[in-house]
């Protein structure tokens, strides 16, 4: 059973549910061609972002990858701005310039994501240098996929983070695939990522069942030490599973690289019904109703927002 109070369970459930429903709605709308942008959905992977971000303070930072809707929402990013961004509207979180792959909401401490695999890992080092100098005990959570751990920059970054004892939580969302290629066809020893990370002098944790509270508890345990400077960086590998296709709204279990048998244990272990069952039914219904309202409002906001004016093409090239 989770070491979490009712308040936490409520918050965690609301966040998981909001991400799931938001993305299901994105998938529903997508075939209407209102979202003319590649979307990499996190459906099935929500517990990683929620487990990590629920443990963070509001003034901590988080950022990650093009599969970033979950991180953005879990960290408290504005969902109206997110939906409007997917629609390419002027009111989007990056004003229609970045789209789904480059989300950021600085007011809510969601730092930008990137479409080039691995590129935000070293960026987190720089944020962490600044946070360390600031001396307020703030940290940054940097999300990545398993593919990123093959890039040279990942290893270069780990070394530097350990060397400078930087307050970075490296979060690996290991869904076992890079596009359609399984990790075993890309890494000689795919089940030893944590062990490799440890050799850099970084404490590494592995959660194999996507348990949102386990992930959160690792954070809750490590964060005070990081904030006091007793710990430098930490690394959390979370096993998880991408339910939909790599990019786009559909399922792809008929394409041959994986099967619904592979999916099944993850659906059985879906954290959303699991956490829902911990709540009083009325309470749950109230949260669900609020989520529906919020997602519907985000869609309405995106629909009625204007597209960027022509001059916006040239704004923000230079600061």
């Amino acid at each position: 059973m989770p070491e979490a109070d009712t308040q936490t369970i409520r918050r965690v459930y609301a966040s998981l549910r909001l991400i799931r429903r938001f993305e299901e709605e994105v998938a529903r709308i997508y075939p209407e061609d209102k979202i003319k942008s590649p979307v990499h959905l996190s459906i099935g992977q929500e517990s990683v972002a929620v487990g990590v971000c629920d443990a963070l303070n509001k003034d901590d930072l988080a950022g990650g990858t093009y599969r970033g809707h979950a991180t953005y929402i879990a960290k408290g990013g504005d969902i109206n701005g997110l939906m409007a961004e997917l629609y390419g509207k002027d009111t989007g979180c990056t004003r229609g310039k970045g789209g789904s792959m480059h989300l950021c909401d600085i007011q809510n401490n969601v730092v930008g994501s990137s479409a080039v695999v691995g590129t935000t890992v070293p960026i987190a080092l720089g944020y962490a240098l600044a946070l360390k100098r600031e001396g307020k005990g703030r940290v940054i959570a940097s999300f990545m996929g398993d593919g990123a751990t093959e890039e040279g920059v990942f290893h270069e970054s780990l070394n530097f983070a350990a060397l400078k004892r930087l307050p970075v939580v490296f979060v690996l969302e290991n869904n076992f695939f890079a596009i359609h290629t399984p990790i075993a066809r890309r890494q000689a020893v795919p089940d030893a990522i944590c062990e490799r990370v440890q050799t850099y002098g970084i404490p590494a944790y592995r959660v194999t069942d996507a348990d949102v509270f386990k992930i959160r508890n690792i954070m809750m345990d490590a964060l005070p030490k990081m904030r006091r400077g007793e710990y430098g960086p930490i690394f959390i590998e979370c096993h998880t599973y991408r339910w939909r296709e790599h990019v786009g709204p559909a399922n792809d279990y008929d394409s041959g690289y994986r099967s619904t048998d592979d999916l099944k244990p993850w659906v059985d272990n879906d954290q959303i019904p699991r956490v829902a069952a911990m709540l009083d039914p009325d309470e749950r219904a109230a949260i669900d109703a609020q989520v529906e309202k919020d997602v519907a409002a985000a869609i309405a906001f995106a629909e009625k927002s204007p597209f960027p004016a022509a001059k916006e093409l040239y704004t923000h090239v230079y600061a």
Binding site: G96, E150, V247, S255, F307, E312, L313
Partner: protein, 368 residues
């Protein structure tokens, strides 16, 4: 390579060439690689996702089944090291084709490409060759945005030791690919996502399309339009719009950007005295700037001509379709620029909006 036919005839349908059968760009690419892999077992393909069921947007379809996993394989996500590995394999006598789904990812390969591949033959005193082909695809539309849309060939044109080619049609894709594979130097082979479904007549047999000759794709008298990669297609459409207004444009495809044949362009400009280069990248320090400068140098003091560079707007590519549309030259804008150059006193002219529609881009639906 004397047994090979060298293509001399214009390729696109527009030029009336009917040799071979109609093939899509993507299939022509694949056919060229397949035929070379059959001919020479030193040729192999590596790169992220070249062997999955989507076969890199179709361009490597069937190669795994035919040649097996030793000759076509995916890699870890490790562009820097994989580029080095491809270069090493080429130095050792193999003929690798290293593939990238977007040109933007070549930024992770730069050290190896520029400091090793481009320089090895020279700095090792001619003792080592790097017969490497680096394929990459330029993305466009459907929210490709800042990091999936860059046409970076002019960057590579800067460096002696590299060759650069950007075929604009299926016919050239095949001929240039064959020449690139057989070339003993590193060749940056630049493709465009929106060209993949476009069709042209392509010979079944192998043929070469080596560097050395730009092609006059369509003749004209009033203005010379040079289009690079996908922009060649836009120029052809722009030419149709101009014809409605009685302006005759000559269209030139440089095909190979390095080494670059400017003679064909100079000859055309001597006739038209007007040059517009439509680039598939930014104009600043771009391929268009290079072409314009070379024409000016070649024409010398007596060669008065007007010149204009078109290309990406001097900003970042946004994802929102409403402003992304303004980022690229399109047939209407090309035609307007040409019309203004040819008839400066005629005042504002806009082509028929119906005719200006980018039909083939309309068909393109994402996510990729």
């Amino acid at each position: 390579m004397s047994t090979l036919k060298t293509a001399t005839k214009p390729a696109p349908d527009a030029a009336g060439n009917t040799g071979g059968r109609v093939l899509r760009y993507v299939d022509a690419l694949k056919e060229a690689v397949e035929q070379e892999m059959e001919r020479d077992d030193k040729v192999f393909v590596m790169g992220l996702d070249v062997d999955d069921h989507k076969a890199l947007q179709g361009s490597t379809r069937g190669l795994l089944q035919k040649f097996g996993p030793d000759r076509i394989f995916t890699t870890p996500l490790a562009e820097d090291a994989m580029t080095g590995a491809a270069i090493g394999a080429a130095m050792a006598g193999l003929r690798p084709i290293h593939v990238h789904i977007r040109m933007d990812f070549l930024m992770l390969s730069m050290n190896q490409l520029i400091n090793m591949a481009a320089k090895a033959h020279y700095m090792y005193g001619g003792n080592i060759k790097v017969p490497l082909v680096v394929r990459s695809i330029i993305g466009k539309s459907w929210g490709q945005g800042p990091q999936h849309s860059q046409g970076l060939y002019s960057t590579f044109m800067h460096f002696p030791g590299l060759k650069v080619v950007a075929p604009s049609n299926a016919h050239d894709a095949k001929g240039c690919m064959l020449s690139a594979i057989r070339d003993d130097n590193p060749v940056m082979f630049v493709e465009h996502r929106l060209l993949y479904p476009t069709e042209a007549y392509v010979p079944e047999e192998q043929f070469e399309l080596p560097p050395g000759k730009s092609r006059v794709v369509m003749p004209g008298d009033d203005v010379t339009l040079v289009g690079i990669s996908n922009m060649l297609v836009e120029c052809l459409r722009g030419r149709e719009l101009l014809a409605d207004a009685g302006v005759s444009a000559e269209i030139i495809d440089p095909i190979w950007l390095s080494p670059l044949d400017t003679d064909t362009i100079v000859k055309s400009v001597k006739k038209t005295r007007r040059l517009i280069v439509v680039d598939n990248g930014w104009t600043m320090c771009g391929a268009g700037a290079e072409i314009a400068a070379r024409v000016a140098e070649a024409l010398g003091p007596e060669g008065k001509f007007q010149v204009e560079r078109m290309g990406f707007a001097p900003t970042i590519c946004p994802t929102s379709p409403s402003i992304e549309d303004q980022f690229y030259p399109n047939p209407a804008r090309i035609a307007q620029a040409a019309h203004k150059m040819v008839r400066p006193k005629a005042g504002e002219w806009t082509p028929d909006p119906e005719r200006a529609v980018l039909a083939y881009q309309r068909q393109f639906r994402g996510p990729f």
